[in-house]
């Protein structure tokens, strides 16, 4: 039981930074807040609304996302999508993710050989 808590804590730590990467990747197509939450959840990134909604605002303030209100439907919704700067960051983060994966792979496989 205690071991499970330990694992959960480290997993949470490991996943923390990946939410931004996942958001930027999904938002290459416009999404509104709740739909993004659902998509993230479906992709295995369980994020709480109270983390995601302020995060979207912060990314927008940093110029990584653009937003637009859609008032055509019964309920007005704010749609977000990545800006040019956001796409650039997404490429950078994706590259870093691949590099990390390679490094970890080299480390763990090197260990197995030794």
């Amino acid at each position: 039981m205690k071991e499970d808590g330990l694992l959960a804590g480290h997993l949470q730590e490991l996943r923390r930074g990946t939410v931004v990467l996942a958001c930027l990747a999904i938002l290459r197509r416009p999404h509104y807040g709740y739909a993004l939450l659902q998509t993230l959840d479906g992709a295995g990134f369980s994020v709480d609304g109270n983390t995601l909604y302020p995060l979207l605002r912060r990314l927008e303030k940093q110029g990584l996302l653009t937003s637009e209100w859609n008032t055509e439907e019964a309920r007005p919704r704010k749609f977000y999508r990545v800006s040019a700067a956001g796409t650039e960051l997404l490429d950078g983060l994706t590259g870093e993710w691949r590099a990390l994966d390679g490094s970890i792979r080299a480390l763990t496989e090197g260990e197995a050989d030794g």
């Binding site: 509104y32 807040g33 709740y34 739909a35 939450l37 659902q38 709480d48 609304g49 109270n50 983390t51 909604y53 302020p54 605002r57 912060r58 019964a74 309920r75 007005p76 919704r77 704010k78």
Partner: protein
């Protein structure tokens, strides 16, 4: 879809989150948050939850509106964060270490110079000064650091104000167990006791204003023993400071001195030879209090023994601590 009239909980929640946000972002965040909450409620209702319950669940999942507001406003949820905390503690320590002794010194000097008020008044004033200075320093330093935490950019919040440098390391060697300040205080206190003893044993000069507490008729050899042992304790303290830590030999001398002093003092107290026999009358003459009591020898002896035991235990504990150190 949940009807508008059912949304009072959502209304109150959204208002709680956005009321302190700026006019530029507040209304926009409110509109979006309301939509997101209604989306969440709709999804829950579609999954078969009762609408009122769905609304409550949606709000509970988002949690304390105060916390959410801080995240939207990028405000810290703490008074002084971990990046500033070490500097905060250092500042508090440095100011208290200077200002508390300064305030106490001023109170004592003022009390002695003006000469009005007894020991009780001065002690009361000292306690007042101690409390006042501590509370003021703690309050103002906290206020300054909390203000700094709130006014600097959010991106810098995980960095200290000034970068740490190696010259901030303590100058003293890590194995040093006793410090100059502590040794000086202890030596000063013992010297004070010696001064009082010498003054009392010599006989007070003006019996109208000064109280002869100790018996000046005590044999000179007893007087020399009581003063000499205290002088030996000062010598031990200086030796410990020079070595940097307690050693078994110094501890043995100290325990022996403590025990000798306590034994002599208790012996004299119980034989009614230490306290002046006419103390109640003399006190009454100086302070105008009734003289219908006698000096409590047994409780005084208990205090002397307690102080000696505490001193011995403390130095033995420190000796063991020093011996365990690599």
């Amino acid at each position: 879809m949940v009807e508008r009239k059912d949304s009072t909980l959502i209304d109150r929640y959204v208002w709680s989150v956005t009321r302190h946000l700026g006019a530029d972002t507040g209304p926009d965040i409110a509109r979006e948050l309301r939509g997101s909450l209604q989306d969440t409620v709709d999804a829950k209702v579609e999954a078969g939850t009762d609408p009122a319950r769905a609304e409550e669940e949606a709000l509970t999942e988002l949690g304390d509106p105060e916390v959410l507001a801080r995240q939207y406003g990028e405000l810290p949820g703490h008074l002084v964060g971990p990046a500033l905390y070490p500097e905060y503690v250092r500042m508090l320590r440095a100011l208290l270490a200077v200002l508390v002794p300064l305030a106490l010194g001023l109170v004592l000097v003022e009390g002695l110079v003006s000469g009005t008020g007894g020991f009780g008044d001065i002690a009361l004033e000292a306690v007042g000064a101690l409390l006042g200075v501590t509370v003021h320093v703690a309050f103002w330093v906290t206020l300054v650091f909390a203000t700094v935490e709130r006014t600097r950019p959010a991106a810098e919040r995980d960095r200290p104000l000034t970068a740490w440098r190696t010259d901030q390391l303590p100058a003293e060697a890590p194995w040093r167990q006793v410090h100059l300040a502590g040794t000086l205080v202890q030596v000063f206190l013992i010297a004070l006791v010696i001064a009082v003893l010498v003054w009392q044993f010599a006989g007070v000069s003006d019996p109208a204003t000064q109280v002869q507490v100790l018996d000046p008729g005590l044999a000179p050899s007893w007087k020399a023993l009581l003063v000499g042992v205290l002088a030996a304790e000062i010598a031990v303290l200086v030796a410990v400071w020079r070595t940097g830590h307690w050693t078994p030999r110094l501890a043995a001398v100290n325990v022996l001195a403590s025990a000798t002093w306590a034994t002599a003092a208790v012996w004299l107290l119980l034989r009614d030879e230490l306290i002046a026999p006419d103390l109640p009358e003399r006190l009454g003459a100086v302070f105008g209090v009734p003289a219908d009591w006698s000096a409590p020898a047994a409780p005084l002896a208990a205090v002397v023994i307690a102080v000696a035991v505490w001193d011995a235990v403390d130095c033995l504990r420190r000796t063991r601590q020093a011996a365990r150190r690599p």
